[in-house]
Structure formats: C-alpha cells, structure tokens
C-alpha cells in the first residue's frame, strides 16, 4: 500500500500537497476483515473459556473446601482423642474403691500412670475434703499426705460438679503450655485425681496430621491462644492468634458449629484455604490450613488448558482470517495500484482484473476513463512543450545575462574571468561550439580568450592577427563597426582566410565588435560547425555581451592604473617610513657612530633587498671597512686589514672617484677589477654590487656599498634611497665629530669653572681675615696706651726699689729686720721684672695686631725672589740659633734660576717667609724631641718659575698638621703652640700679606708625622696689580 500524501515537499505543486481523499493511511481492508474474523472467534473462545474456568474453579474450590472441612474434623477428633486418652488413663485411679487401696498401691498406680501417659508431668490425689493426699511428679519429690487444702480450687470444685474438668491452658515458666485435667472419682464422697498435662506433647499429634503437601493444622483455645502448632516455638512463645481473621470469625461464631472453609491469610502472610472444627469438650478450635496454590492446583491446571485452547483458537482464526482477507483484497489492491499509476500520470496503464464481479466492472470503467484522459492530455502536452521551450529560452538568456553581469560585477578586475564567462555564456546561448574574443593590440587584433578552441586553431589565430579588411570576418567586423552574421561561410564570396575555416571547421559565424566610444577595441566571434542562421535574439544578446565585455575591459584598465599608482605610493611610503625610522635611530644614538652606520647599512640592505652591505670610511689615502652587515667575520677581518687604495680597481673606489653611485650588475663579468677587489669578492661571494660615495664638501669621505648574492640590478629608486642613506651617514659622521668637539670644550669650561670657584673661596677667606684685622687693630690701639703706662711705671718702680734699698742701707736696723727688708725688696723687684716681661709680650702682640690693619706698608718694587728666600732662610736660622744655641737643622735650597724678579713688598714677604721658616723649625725640632734624636730635621726651600707667576715652597719633615687644624690655621689667634710661645697671628698675617697685598695664594699640604709644605704663588706683577685693584 502506498503512502501518498504523507511526505509532500514544499517544492511540489499545491495540488499534490493537498491530501487526496481516501488515500490517507488508514486501516487496510485486509486488516479489517482479519480483525473482524479473529475478534469474533476470540470473543467466542473467551466467553466459553471464562465460563468453563469459573465453573471449574467453583467446583474445585468447593471440593477443596469440603476436603479441608473433613480434615479439620478429623484433626479435631485426633486432638480430642489425645485428651480423651489421658482422661481414660486417669480412669485407673478414679474407681470408687481406689480410695481404699493402700497408699503404696496408690503411688504405684500413679507411677504407672506417669509411665503410660508421658504428657502427664504431675499427678495428685485429692480426697473428698479437697486435701492433697498424694502427689507424684516427674520433676519434684513425691508428696505423700501433704494435706494441702485445695478444696476451694476450681480443679476440685468443677471436677466434683462436672465429673471431669479441663482447666484452662497455662504456661509454666512463661513458656511451656500446660493444662489441668481433673477427674472426680466414682461413688459417694468422691475424691479427685488431678493431672497436670504438658501440652507440648500434642505436638506429636499435630505434626502427624498431614494436610496435603504443605498444609498444617493448629489448635487454639477459646481465647485464641495457640495451643499446638507444628512450629513448637510459636507455642512456646505464647502466640495470640485471636486477631487472625479466620480465628476471630471462628471464635465469634457459635461454638460447636463448624464453618465452611475460606481463603484467608495465614499468620506468615501466605494465602491459605482455612477450615476449622471445634473440640467441644475443651472449647478448643482446630484449624487446618492448606496453601491456596496447592488447594486450587486443579483449577490452575484447568486455567492453563483453557488458555492453551484459546491461544490455539486465536492462531487458527488469525491464519484463516488473514488468508480470506488476502484473497479478497488482491484484486482491490490491483485496482488501487492501477488507479494510482493513472493518478501518477501513467495513462498508458490498463487494469486487468478477471474476477467476474463488480470489481472487474470497476476496472473496465477505469480503463475507459484513462483512455479519454490520455487523448486530451496529449494535445495539451504539445502546446505546453512549445510554450515551455519558448519561456525556457528566454529564461535561460536572462539568467545567462544576469550571470554574466554578476560575474562582471564580482570579478570586475579579473578580465580573464569576465571573458571566460562572456564567451562561455554567449556560446552556450547561441548554440555555438566555439567562441573567441579578439582584442586590439596596436594596429592588429589578436585572440585574447577562447572557448572550445583547439590548440591548433588557437595557433592559427595567434599567428594571423586580424586587420581591418573584408577577407576575414573579424576584419570585416572591425571595418563595419557592427555585427557580421554569416549563416553559411562557404557561400560567402569575400572570405579569404580559408585556413581558419579549414582548421576550425566552422560553417556559420557571428562576429560582434567591442566598441569604445565608437571605436572597435575588440571582436566577439561565435561559430558553429553547421551552416545556419543565428536568431535576431541571439545577435542582440551577443551584442549586449560585447558591450559588457567593453565595460569590463574599461574597468580592468582603470583598476590596473589605480593599482599601479597605489603600489607606487605604498613603496615610497615604505621607504619614507624606513628612512624616518633610520633617522630616529640616528637621532637617538647620534654620538655612537658605529651604531648609526650599522643601522643605516642594515636598513638600506633590507629596503633594497640586498643581503649584505658595508660602509667604507676614508683613512688617509685608503678606504677601510667601518660598518658591516651580513658579511662573515673572515671578510671583515680581511677588509679591515686591507683597505682599498685610492684607485679605480673596485666598484667602491670607482664610486668614491666619480662622486656618484656606481653599480656593477655582475661583478664576475667585470674584467677591470683589481686583485684586491677579486679577493674581496671571493670572500664576500656577491655578484651584484652598488657603491654610493659619502661626500662632504665635494670630497669623498667614505663609500656606502650594498651587494647581492645573485645577479640582480638595483633599481633607480633603490639607488636613490641608498644615496639618501649615504647623506645621512655623512651627517652622522659630521655629528659625531661635532659631538667630540663639544665634549672637549665642555671639559675646558668645567676646568675654568673649577678655578673660578677656588678663587672665590680664597676671596671669602681674605675678606674674613680683613674684617678681623680691622677689629683687632681697633682693640690694639685702645690697649696700647694703658699697656705703656703699665710698662713704664713698672720699670720706674723697679728703679725705685733700688733707691729704697740704698736709702735703707745706712739705717740702723737689727739683723732680722734687715734680712726681711732685703727679702721683701728682692721679691718686689722680681715681681716688677715679671710685669715688665709680660707687658712687653703684650706690647708685641698689640704691635702685631696693628700690623694686620696696616696696608701697603713700605714700597713695592721688583725683587729677586731667590735672593729674598735665601736671605729669609739664613735670617731665620741664625735667629733660631741665637735663641737656642743647640738648634741644628739641615737646610736645603732648590732654587730655580729662572725664577727671576717679581714686584713685591720685600719686608712683608720677608716677614711671611720668616714666619714659615720659624714654624718649620719649631715643627722639626718638636719631632726631633719626640723621636729622641734619631732624626734629621730637614727644611727645604724651593722656587719655581710659573711664567707670569712665581712659586715658593717651604717644606719640613716635621710633625705635620692634623686635618682639623688645617681648616683653622689661617684664623687670627689660632695657635697650637703652648701658651706664651706664639701669638696665633703669624699665619693669619702671612695669609693677609700674600693674598691681599700681593694677590697671590698660600696653600698648605701636610701629612701628620711626615711633612708639611706651604706653597706660595705670587704674580710677578702681584703687588702692583693688587695695589691697582685696591685703588680702583
């Protein structure tokens, strides 16, 4: 069966998408028929089976129930018997005469009873008064005549009243079920025999009752407590079954009446068929229970049989139903298939059915209908085909045109693709097997693209460019500037290019010119192997295509122009960027010439696509390698060792000589190379090289050389670039030189600045001393007068003491008084002498102070410096010896004869020198004293000519001056000598004289324990200049 209408795609016409009535998937007829048949049979079988089953179930259940009922009664009887047996056994002891039997005999009887009835655990005899007379037990010692009064116990009372009494079940030790059986004796005033019966012994009875395979019996008392059960543990646990439904209902029922069996749940949850029967005397109930499964086994068997029958019936019904349905459905299916084929458009189909019934008639009608439809269909079809062809053609052309336009717009600048599309589409639409485009190339037209062109034909066309002439169709088109259409080539009288038609084997041709502003720039030619006209539509289409081709050619031309311009711009941009980068590097590392040059070479090599590059710089008469990029260490070593001499033996030197760029395209081909150049080439391995000179003020100072490993000339632009770089190199070299100069100049300036600073420091010191000098001078004047008084009057007083002594000479004094007077006057005189001495010292200090404030004492005149030094030295020495005859020191003179004269105040300078010498003597002597003689004190005086200045040095090998003293030693009143030995004004004065009076310098160098050296420099025109300055 088909599934028409379930999977209609959206592409199908709307009619097909609509489901046809009656063809939707639904239950097939065959299935319906089969279902009906099978259903009917099944129904019958099911009803029959169910009834059967019900009946047999009821029957089996009834049977099982009645069996159970019987079993329950039997079981009840067995249990009843068990108890009755015990009662019977007890009968031995209940005869009327038994009470008169001797006690020992009674005991025997009891013992025998115990042996015969194992369930009895204890048996006792109560006399008529209810007193226990005898008790025999299995567990306890026998009791004889215990006389325990049991007359109030039910076992006595009830037994007397009812003859025999069965007590309730009780548990010993909470576990063992027991029952009391009391039987009254016969006769008057009877006693009672009481037995305690262990009901566990019923177990033997209950387990002996067989109920089917898995069935069992159990006994409960009137309270529903379990008395006997095959599982003894349930009994010992004192199980209460009164809640079990069957027990509950049995207990609720009328005692003594047995109920019908029923299906209930047992205490373990299994479904059982339960029946019960009462034991009337004991008011116990005996239950027998059989698992339902077992009880109803026959019913299940019957059920299985019925089910099997049902299954078989169903199978048979299915087979029969299917067969019948198929038989009936086959012709209908065939009819349906035929109709479907007709519906699907196969109108030639005829349905053949020979069933001889309504279906056959239906088939015949179908066939007639099909014939009619076929007839009308055929006429319609012809019309449709015609219209469709027409439409198709138009559609195809439009599509092709659109495609061509699309291709042109998409690949506007890929002329080949445009041509390919144009000619392919044109050929396709015009039914041509070949198409060609010719393009104008100067005066002639050559084929540019072809479709369906064999290599031979292409070769012919290539070798025969078209000219405007009437002998070829292309040429004719060019002349005419319009389409040329030749339906039969052989019939054309003007056609002369027969080689083309012979090789190309075409019979008809259409050529359309490609016109730009009315001028032909190409031709589009289409040919066919058979004679026949192109339609007007085709011609106009090809014309359109030709116009499109023209537009594409124009576009491509414009695009190429733009492209070329852009490439040019981007190249120059790249170079400018590179140049800018290089300039940046240069400006950054302007004073590191190597870096700059290497950067330049590197960048130039990269931009000019050269593998290696060097810069040679002029070193005297040679040009030596300076920056290297790409060349091996070996090459570099060689080049540094062997600079090019100034000849024309190499590209580099030629460039240097010519002052312009020199390129050698293949170095190996250059025969005029020098041997050195050949060696360079051998080590460098380059083929093409370019040398650009570095020119400064028209002179070559170096050469910028780039090389390529393969023969490939540098372009004009690249050479220009290298020239730019060469100029940069020149600038960089210049910069580096300028930088060096600036550095030197800066160092000089720094030196001057340092000197200036020193001078300033000295000036500050001088001013400080000057102000101090003025201050002290003021004080000195004020002190001078009182000091004169002190000195003069103390001298006078000393004389007066002498006079006093003379006056007292003649006076009559006793010896003691005279001695005292002498002593007193002597002391007074000594005191006055000390006053005089110290007064003079104060006087000399004041004098020195006054000297400070004095300016320009005496005359200045040119003085022989060596002479004044010599003189001062001698003076100082003799002075020192006069003061201290033991004084000894080695004096050395190293006087430069070229010292000459200087303009000085001789007295002042002498003062300074004396001061320095005496200091030196003091220090040297002190050191000698310290070292205890093992020392040779030496004083050295040195003079030197310093051109416009004179230098005087005084050096001793004395104690030296500590650093802290050095800073203060030129201050007034600073002294290191013991109090009274120095005024502290010597050096202060000396500084004053040298610096202020003469415009010189005084400096000290010292190393404690080694030496002290004072250096005085005096300008030759010092005093004059200084005086002039002061004057100014």
């Amino acid at each position: 069966m088909s599934v028409v209408g379930t999977a209609t795609g959206p592409a199908l016409p709307a009619e097909a998408a609509r489901p046809l009535p009656g063809t939707r998937l639904r239950m097939p007829l065959a299935a319906k028929l089969a279902a009906a048949l099978i259903g009917l049979v099944t129904l019958v079988l099911l009803v029959n089976g169910a009834i059967n089953l019900w009946l047999s179930y009821q029957e089996a259940k009834t049977a099982a129930v009645s069996v159970q009922q019987e079993k329950a009664h039997a079981a009840a009887e067995r249990i009843g018997q068990f108890v009755a047996e015990i009662e019977n056994q007890m009968g031995w002891t209940t005869r009327a005469e038994w009470r008169r039997v001797p006690l020992e005999q009674q005991r025997y009887d009891f013992i025998r009873l115990l042996r015969q009835a194992p369930a009895i655990t204890e048996i006792s005899y109560l006399d008529a008064a209810g007193k226990e007379q005898l008790k025999v037990s299995r567990l306890e010692p026998d009791a004889v005549g215990s006389q325990i009064d049991l007359s109030g116990e039910p076992k006595f009372l009830r037994a007397i009243a009812e003859k025999s009494w069965f007590g309730p079940v009780y548990l010993r030790r909470g576990s063992e079920p027991y029952m009391t059986i009391a039987v009254a004796h016969a006769g008057r005033n009877p006693g009672v025999t009481v037995a305690e019966v262990n009901l566990k012994l019923i177990w033997d009875v209950i387990t002996a009752i067989r109920i089917g395979q898995k069935g069992y019996a159990f006994v409960v008392n009137s309270q529903g407590r379990l008395i006997a059960h095959p599982d003894l543990s349930l009994v010992l646990r004192d199980t209460d079954l009164s809640r079990l439904p069957q027990v509950a209902s049995a207990l609720a029922g009328v005692p003594g009446q047995s109920n019908a069996a029923e299906i209930v749940e047992a205490q373990d949850g299994a479904r059982v068929l339960s029946a019960h029967a009462p034991i009337a005397r004991l008011r116990w109930l005996v239950f027998v229970q059989l698992p339902v499964k077992e009880a109803l086994a026959p019913v299940y068997t019957s059920l299985a049989q019925t089910a099997a029958l049902l299954g078989l019936g169903l199978l048979l019904a299915s087979v029969a139903g299917t067969y019948l349905a198929r038989r009936m459905v086959v012709p209908i299916r065939r009819l349906q298939d035929g109709a479907e084929r007709l519906g699907g458009g196969d109108l030639s189909e005829r349905i053949t059915i020979r069933t001889g019934d309504e279906i056959e008639t239906l088939a015949v009608r179908f066939n007639q209908m099909a014939s009619r439809i076929q007839e009308s269909h055929e006429t319609l079809e012809a019309k449709v085909v015609e219209r469709t062809r027409d439409l198709n053609e138009t559609l195809q052309q439009q599509t092709a045109t659109a495609d061509v336009l699309k291709v042109i717009s998409r690949s506007a600048f890929d002329l080949d693709a445009v041509f390919k599309t144009v000619i392919e589409s044109a050929a396709h639409l015009c039914g041509s097997n070949r198409a060609l485009i010719y393009l104008k190339d100067g005066e002639v037209f050559r084929p540019a693209a072809g479709f369906g062109v064999s290599p031979e034909f292409w070769a012919v066309m290539e070798s025969n460019p078209m000219r405007p002439e009437r002998g070829t169709f292309v040429g004719r088109t060019i002349l005419e500037r319009g389409p040329i259409h030749v339906p039969d080539v052989d019939a054309d009288p003007e056609f002369t290019f027969t080689e083309a038609s012979r090789v190309g084997r075409f019979k008809s041709i259409l050529c359309v010119p490609l016109l730009r502003e009315g001028d032909p720039i190409g031709v589009l030619a289409l040919s066919r192997p058979a004679a026949g006209p192109f339609t007007a539509r085709q011609i106009s289409l090809v014309t359109t295509f030709a116009d499109q081709a023209v537009i594409a050619i124009e576009n491509a031309r414009l695009f190429d122009e733009v492209q070329a311009r852009t490439a040019e711009l981007s190249e120059s941009l790249q170079q400018q960027t590179a140049t800018a980068d290089v300039l940046k590097v240069i400006s950054r590392s302007a004073f590191n010439l190597d870096v700059v040059l290497t950067t330049l070479v590197e960048s130039a090599a990269r931009l000019c696509e050269a593998e290696k590059g060097v810069i040679f710089l002029r070193q005297g008469g040679h040009f030596g390698l300076c920056a290297n990029v790409g060349f091996s260490a070996e090459f570099e070593t060689f080049a540094r060792a062997n600079p090019f001499p100034f000849d024309r033996g190499s590209t580099t030197m030629r460039a240097a000589a010519s002052g312009g760029a020199v390129q050698v395209v293949d170095v190996l081909a250059d025969e005029s190379r020098s041997a050195l150049a050949r060696e360079y080439q051998r080590l460098g391995g380059y083929r093409t090289n370019l040398g650009v000179p570095l020119m400064r003020e028209g002179e070559p100072i170096g050469v910028f050389t780039l090389t390529r490993q393969v023969v490939r000339p540098f372009t004009e632009r690249q050479i220009e670039l290298v020239q730019t770089f060469a100029d940069q190199a020149v600038i960089a070299i210049q910069n580096a030189r300028l930088f060096e100069e600036v550095k030197e100049r800066t160092a000089e300036l720094q030196q001057s600045l340092d000197d200036l600073r020193k001078a300033q420091d000295r000036l500050v010191q001088s001013e400080k001393l000057a102000s101090l000098g003025q201050l002290t001078a003021g004080i000195a004047h004020e002190i001078k007068n009182p000091l004169n008084f002190v000195n003069n009057f103390s001298l006078l007083s000393a004389d007066l003491i002498d006079e006093l002594r003379q006056v007292l000479e003649p006076a009559s004094l006793d010896e003691r008084a005279r001695e005292e007077v002498d002593e007193l006057t002597g002391m007074l005189k000594g005191n006055l002498e000390k006053v005089v001495q110290h007064g003079k010292r104060a006087d000399s200090i004041v004098k020195n102070m006054l000297l400070h404030s004095r300016e320009g004492v005496g005359e200045h005149r040119p003085v022989e410096v060596n002479a004044i030094v010599e003189e001062s030295m001698n003076l100082a020495y003799h002075g020192a010896r006069a003061e201290k005859p033991s004084f000894n020191v080695t004096l050395r003179r190293e006087l430069d004869p070229a010292t000459g004269e200087a303009d000085l105040y001789p007295q002042e300078i002498t003062r300074v020198l004396l001061n320095l010498f005496s200091n030196s003597f003091y220090a040297a002597t002190k050191r000698k004293a310290e070292l205890d003689g093992a020392f040779d004190p030496t004083i050295t005086a040195t003079t030197r000519n310093l051109g416009d200045r004179v230098e005087i040095r005084v050096r001793d090998n004395g104690t030296g001056i500590p650093e802290d003293v050095k800073a203060k030693m030129f201050n007034p009143f600073f002294t290191t000598k013991p109090a009274g030995e120095g005024t502290g004004l010597g050096l202060s004065l000396s500084h004053d004289i040298v610096v202020k009076q003469h415009g010189g310098t005084i400096e000290v160098a010292s190393s404690p324990g080694q030496f002290t050296e004072f250096t005085i420099t005096l300008p030759r025109a010092g005093a004059a200049t200084a005086a002039a300055k002061r004057g100014a």
Binding site: I111, D142, L236, R237
Partner: protein, 325 residues
C-alpha cells in the same frame, strides 16, 4: 511481541538458575562439645545433631561443621570459644554450660544455639525462655527442683544413707541453683550434704577419698561437664568405696553408674538441628524460645546395685524406664 523480546526472555530464563545457585553459599556451623573427642556419648550426641540437620534440609554440602572438643576443661572451653568466635561461623552450637559461659562475653552477634544447659535464665544467658532476647537460644535441661528428685531416688534405693557428697564445680555457671536446691531439701530426707569440689580428675579423686574418709554416705553427681567426662573415674571410685551414687543422665547408669534420673540429651540434639537451620535461613535467635526437655527417664543398673549389695525397691523398678541387668 517482537522477536528480540522473546530472545531476551529466553536469555533471562537461562540466566536465572545460575543466580539462584549463587545464593546457596556454604554455611558454616561451629560446634563446641563438652566431651572429650572419641567419647561415646559425645559422638552419639554429635551424630544425632548431624542427623537432625540433614533431616531439616541441610545437605552435606551447604552446612559444614567445625567441631571442637572441650573435654570438660574450663581452659580449653575459653580457648576454643575464642577460636570459634574468630572463625566467625554462621551459627555456633554449644554443648554444655561451661562452653556457653565462655562464649557469651566474646560475641553478641554470632547466633548461638546451646544444648544441655542448666537453668539458662537463672544463669543470665537469656532473658526469658519464651523470648530469649539476644543472640542466644537453645535447649535447657534441668530445672533446679529435680535436685529433690535425685535425693528422693537415692534415699529410696539406699534408705540408710544420711550423708550425701555432691560432686559439684562451684565455678561452673548455672549449677549453683541445683546445688542450693539439693542442700535445701536434704533435711526433708534426713540427710545432710557435703560438697565435693570436682573440677578435674585429681580433684574428683581427692574429693571422693576425703568424703569417704569422713564416714559412710552416698554420692550425688551433678551434670557438670567434667563429671560426665570423668564418669568412669567416678564409677570406679563409687564401686571401690561402695558408695551408692545418683547420676543425672541415663547413659551414666547404662555405662555402670548405679542409678540415673534425667532427660534424654540425645533428643535435645535432635531438636537442635531444625533450630540451627531456621537461624541459617534468617530467623533471629531472639525470637526462638528456649525449649525445655519433655522426656525424663529413670535408669537403674542392677549390676551396680548388686555390687553394692543394694536391693532396688519395687517402686523404683516400677518407675524405671530402663533397668540394666
């Protein structure tokens, strides 16, 4: 139904029996016997247990027995109890009070079924007979009152006896109630009791010698394990010193003792099998009631009586379930 469903059902059916087989793994039952290995009574009891297991549905394969014989020795009882707990069997069957007493502190999880244990509630092994409560259940033996029965029987056979030496192990749990009962009822039979400490053969020998040295009398043999194990020693001493003796188990009299009153221990072992099987199949010992013996037997050995020069009174003979000629 699809074909592959049918195949699946068939495959399932084929797989099922194997799964069922896997469930029946081998169960292990530990057995601690109070006797010495090779003891006739001990072997008979063990055989009865095996037989009952088989009858209750255990084939030889799925219940392996691990048997240890304590030989009435308290030290061995302790060490074997440890070994047994270490073996961790599915159930332990323990014969005798001493073995149970040794096991109780060692495990509260392994189910224990005891056989022939006196007064289990009094000794504190179980909470109650009906509902034992813990992991222990089993078959108890003597109620304390049977002590009176023993003295009664002894007095009946040897009416002149006024002094009864009770062979007793005061260290064995569960037996004190018996001893107390005997001591309590003795005066009612005109007797006084003398405890004879019997924990080993030398003690038994020394104790009986000492008892004999104290004057004429009779013996009451309590059902302690050592008394059963050393029964032949006791028989010999009783015969040598002409001591009438009362024994707790029928086999005692059958093997040479004068008279015995007690229950049928073999029957208890027969009933132990189903209990063990029920525990193996998942029931809790706590829910299985302790069962007391139902059958008591009096066995009299006439040969021993003759040797002692005793005449058994007809009342005793009438009661006797078994009379050994």
């Amino acid at each position: 139904m699809r074909r592959r469903d049918v195949v699946a059902v068939l495959a399932g059916g084929a797989a099922w029996p194997r799964a069922a087989q896997a469930q029946s793994r081998v169960r292990r039952v530990g057995v601690l016997m109070s006797y010495r290995e090779g003891d006739s009574e001990g072997e008979v009891r063990l055989a009865a247990f095996r037989e009952s297991l088989r009858a209750a549905g255990a084939d030889g394969g799925n219940a392996g027995l691990e048997v240890r014989w304590m030989a009435g020795d308290p030290d061995r009882a302790t060490s074997y109890a440890r070994e047994m707990v270490a073996l961790a069997p599915d159930v332990i069957l323990v014969n005798g009070t001493a073995g149970l007493a040794a096991l109780v502190p060692l495990t509260a999880t392994i189910p224990i079924v005891f056989v022939v244990v006196t007064n289990p509630v009094g000794a504190g092994f179980v909470t109650s007979l009906a509902r034992p409560g813990g992991n222990i259940t089993g078959f108890s033996t003597f109620e304390p009152e049977i002590g009176g029965k023993w003295l009664e029987t002894l007095k009946a056979i040897a009416p002149g006896v006024v002094r009864a030496g009770v062979l007793h192990d005061p260290g064995a749990r569960g037996f004190s109630a018996l001893w107390e009962r005997i001591e309590a009822v003795a005066p009612s039979f005109g007797m006084r009791t003398v405890p004879i400490h019997a924990r080993s053969r030398p003690e038994i020998e020394a104790g009986i010698e000492a008892f004999v040295a104290g004057g004429p009398g009779a013996l009451v043999v309590l059902p302690t394990p050592v008394n059963s194990v050393q029964r032949q020693t006791i028989f010999a001493l009783a015969e040598r010193h002409r001591l009438p003796a009362m024994y707790p188990f029928g086999f005692h009299a059958r093997e040479g003792g004068l008279v015995a009153y007690g229950f049928d221990a073999i029957e208890l072992f027969r009933r132990a099998g189903p209990y063990v099987m029920r525990i193996l199949s998942g029931e809790k010992p706590a829910n299985l009631p302790v069962q007391a013996p139902t059958k008591y037997e009096l066995v009299v050995n006439l040969r021993a009586a003759r040797a002692l020069g005793l005449t058994i009174p007809p009342a005793i003979l009438a009661r006797a379930d078994d009379v050994i000629e």
